[in-house]
């Protein structure tokens, strides 16, 4: 097993008066194929941690290695390329393009990472099949239910075949039944070998994960496994 995520003494402080220490001295290693839930109250620094993990933000102290690459030493452009290639994102807001079809939305996830146009459509179709939306390729997001939209977002995230899937409150906008469907999908993706990290404050979401990590006031702590 090799580590996908290695955090060593990572801190993120936002300038201001007083400065806000959103993440403090975080150590965390996530192996390939791991399924980690990060739980904690609002304002505990979960989102900041996720931004660091997704190379959207850089730590102010400590080091973060994604697939062995030291993210702190990268330029803005290289960081962008790295996250495009290695990280898939699923957000609470689905961030779908409202005027494009489902398959075009998934193909957006492949525009910037040197995938030839022909391959894009095929991979997007496969990704949509993976999330069970083969029958919705030419729909627009408006014609879909919330659960279906989130599945499109998941398809878009996995179409680029990332090493790490980061989910920020993926079920925040969904009802109980569709939440279960998404969680089932996560289980399936994980058995395919994808590394998953999910931020949530919902108990039932975090219970499905292999590891639960609790975050309080910027500090990470292993919570007892379910």
């Amino acid at each position: 097993m090799s580590a996908v995520v290695e955090l060593a003494g990572v801190g993120r402080t936002f300038a201001g008066s007083p400065p806000v220490e959103a993440v403090r001295d975080a150590d965390l290693v996530v192996e390939e194929g791991g399924y980690v839930a990060i739980v904690g109250p609002s304002g505990s620094g979960k989102s900041t941690l996720l931004h660091i993990l997704g190379c959207l933000d850089t730590p102010t102290s400590g080091s973060y290695r994604l697939r062995g690459i030291d993210v702190g030493g990268l330029s803005d452009g290289d960081r962008t390329s790295l996250r495009g290639a290695e990280v898939g994102f699923v957000f609470q807001a689905f961030h779908l393009l409202p005027y494009r079809s489902v398959i075009e939305n998934v193909m957006t996830g492949l525009v910037y990472n040197r995938t030839p146009r022909r391959v894009r459509r095929e991979r997007s179709r496969q990704a949509l099949e993976r999330v069970g939306l083969s029958h919705r390729l030419d729909f627009t997001p408006r014609q879909l239910s919330g659960g279906e939209r989130q599945r499109v977002a998941v398809a878009r995230a996995i179409a680029a075949q990332p090493s790490l899937l980061l989910c920020d409150e993926p079920t925040g906008n969904l009802d109980t039944r569709t939440t279960s469907a998404i969680l089932d999908l996560f289980d399936e993706l994980r058995t395919d070998g994808l590394t998953l990290m999910v931020i949530t404050h919902e108990e039932r979401v975090s219970q499905r994960a292999e590891r639960r990590i609790e975050m309080i006031d910027g500090f990470l702590g292993e919570a007892e496994s379910s």
Binding site: S81, F89, L97, V111
Partner: protein, 417 residues
Amino acid sequence: MSAVQPLEHRIVKSRFALSDLVAEAFSGMLARPGRTMLTILGTVLGVVAVVATLGIAKTSGNQIVSRTDELSATSVSVSNRSEGGFRSPSNNVSSIPWDAEDRLTRLNGVVAAGTMTRVDTSGSLVSSVPINDPLGQSEFAIDVVATSPGLFEAVLSELSTGRYFDEGHSIRNEPVAVIGSGAATRLNVTRVDQQPAIFVGDTTLVVIGILDDVAREPSLINSVIIPNGTANALFGTGAPAEVHILTELGAAQLIGDQAAVALSPNEPETLRVSVPPEPRILKSGLQDDVNSQFLILGGISLLVGAIGIANVTLVSVLERVGEIGLRRATGARRRHIAAQFLAESAAMGLVGGIIGASLGVLVIVAVSAQRQWTPVLDLYVPLLAVPGGAVIGLIAGLYPSWRASSLEPVDALRGGT
């Protein structure tokens, strides 16, 4: 699982292919066609105004030259400054040489030239072969005019039958005449194949041609025209009194300056040169005024159009913050985001330019059809209008796309839908 060698793991630089850029630009534009159309309306109007103004100016300018003014714009005449001249021949010595025609046709810009002198026939009447018609009149007071052969072309005359006389007739003093259609009717001469004779007093002349129409000097229609040499031999006409010159279009002023010197190098001041008053200058002055106003109007619409595109692109950037965040998350660099919005606004400008240029051409055609003009347009005007529209869109997109690219992905993902 096999061990990954981290240090060999290379970062694949993300890229945004040109074909993708174009595709994104057009699908971004076509996502909301109604809004796009309204956005490019200003650009369309501006381009229409500019193209139509330039086209109509060109078209009408062309009409003025080709229809109204061509006759006078190419006509130069020279006469003696003293009271001699065509209408009242006097004993004053004319400064116009016999070879005036040769001297003038050597000038660059002269199409044809010819002399014209009224012949003093001492009041002789003109008649054709006598017909005994007690009720009809058979003798008429018809002007007799001596000319050089080039005059016919210089006054744009047309033959209805027969031929003109030439230099040979003049040198040999042959008693031949070409008569105008009015004179022919009065003299009852309708054909020349029988070599009909007419009489000026006691002098017999053979008619070799009948003029149909004379665009300049219409008095020739009612005249008997004979060669210079013949006139001098039979009636002692003397030196030519007047010269008519047909110039190339636009050469009239120049020839006007040169003719007097060419005809009378020693005393050019004794000659009076009449050149057309160049009505084009007046009209085109007026036209330029109107044109520049329309062009200013077109420029203002283009500016407003550009502001419209900038405005809508900016609104669209703010609306699509979430999309920008997501694209940044999936590997789009700042410049990829900037390029996308720039391309979108440029595409809007381009479409505005295409529609505007087409409508502008239609306006020119419509106005020309209504005025019964021939539409004239420099091809480069509509062809430049299209990239011109794209450039306007590009400029309009500079600020919005800068705004879009300077968004931090974290902030962008927090907002939006």
